[in-house]
Amino acid sequence: MSIDTTPKQSWWNRIAHPGQFVAWTTPLLWPLTILTAVLFVVGLWFAFFNSPEDYQMGDTVRIMYVHVPNAWLSQFVYGVMAVSALGTLVWRHPMADVSMKAAAPLGALFTALALFTGALWGRPTWGTFWEWDGRMTSTLVLLFIYLGIVALWRAFDDQLRAARVIAVFTLIGAVNIPIIKFSVDWWSTLHQPASVFRADGPTMPGSILTPLFVMFFAFTFLFITLQLKAMHTEVRRRRVMTLQRKAAQGSTA
């Protein structure tokens, strides 16, 4: 029952120190912001002016350039959270806690955007905002899980203690999401004779793929930038909390 906490100095441990992490990553913030902005400008220009209309959907096909990257991020962010959760549980890495906490609201936001743009796209294409299609349903469940995790973070008084518990829950969610996906797909094929929606139909021409890829990277970099910024904010929030506690303790002692 001995617990060894002697620090080993490696790059891993050095970024484990929140102050050093902020110092190391702050120079990245502006370049990332500019890169994201450029990617958005290029991507949107392609999307609006240099890609064809769909012969069926017309101009509304352009919603795809926003919708698909968001749908991708809705799953990617959960992956980031799950990896951070492993970092919290296995290596007790303090920045993993911060990364997990920063990612949760971002994931919820991207998932909500994916659903929202999907609904906007669905209205003119299928004539309805919402269809209990397998893909949409599992994205909705994913949104519930994100919101549950955000609520869980807010419910804990002590954020440092919360991290490990939430890491456990995040990993349980990660195991469960494929099961949910499978069950929902099974369920929607049971209840619907033929699917209304097949995005992966014929191969897409390059004129659609180019803006899609650019937008895809634009949104991914947007996430990375926001994630870094949110992590910095969280580090500062924790520092303020610690200082407040220290001050409170100093006044009573």
Partner: protein, 217 residues
């Protein structure tokens, strides 16, 4: 093994003397089911069509309602800290609690389900299928519930948040549970449901024990 049995006996005793908690849950289950005709109208055909789903929803809600007494009383009176120094591992403690949780909050619902089936004009064959699906599926609900309760035990008012966490995770149970009642595809759904139950019950004690021991840090 005797420690595990002592744990089971204690939990059952506490449930039996718990001041009618079991009865409250059964009553809640029946009332939720009995409200349905008031909301959708007493059309027997419609009721019979939605009855399996309504019974599952009632059971699901009733089991969520009982979650808070799984770990919270032990957390509040200090037993949970002591159980971490017991001769049996915390996961075994959770497993014992999981078993008794199913016995006192799922089994009574299953026993009471014929009554609800009658109120909702379910036919006999559907009823038997529903009974089997409840028997196979409720362990998974109990297991997900135990994880949710363990995650929220360290939160002062975690009783409200546990259902929010557990409900999305339990969606596959509902899907396969009601799927195994429907006429088509029922055997496949029942197998999926059984697989899900086995997996959830096998893994939940470890996950819940991990959540409990991290939460009290």
């Amino acid at each position: 093994m005797s420690a595990f049995r002592a744990m089971l006996v204690r939990e059952l005793r506490l449930a039996r003397r718990g001041g009618g908690d079991v009865l409250t849950l059964v009553l809640f289950f029946i009332i939720v089911g009995a409200i349905v005709p008031f909301a959708v109208g007493p059309d027997r055909e419609l009721l019979a069509r939605i009855a399996p789903g309504m019974v599952w929803i009632a059971a699901f809600l009733a089991m969520l309602l009982g979650l808070d007494r799984l770990f919270r009383p032990d957390h509040e009176d200090g037993s949970l800290i002591l159980l971490r120094q017991a001769d049996l591992p915390l996961s075994a403690v959770v497993a014992a609690k999981l078993i008794t949780h199913w016995l006192v909050s799922a089994l009574p619902l299953i026993v009471a389900s014929p009554f609800l089936a009658m109120l909702l004009a379910m036919d006999v064959e559907t009823f038997w299928r529903m009974l089997i699906s409840l028997l196979v599926g409720t362990p998974a609900l109990a297991a997900f519930g135990a994880v949710g309760a363990a995650v929220t035990v360290a939160i002062r008012r975690g009783g409200l948040i546990a259902p929010i966490l557990v409900a999305p995770l339990s969606i596959p149970v509902l899907i396969f549970g009601t799927g195994s009642i429907s006429a088509t595809q029922s055997s496949a759904a029942l197998l999926f449901l059984a697989a899900l139950s086995l997996m959830a019950v096998a893994l939940a004690p470890f996950a819940a024990a991990l959540a409990i021991s991290s939460g009290e840090d």
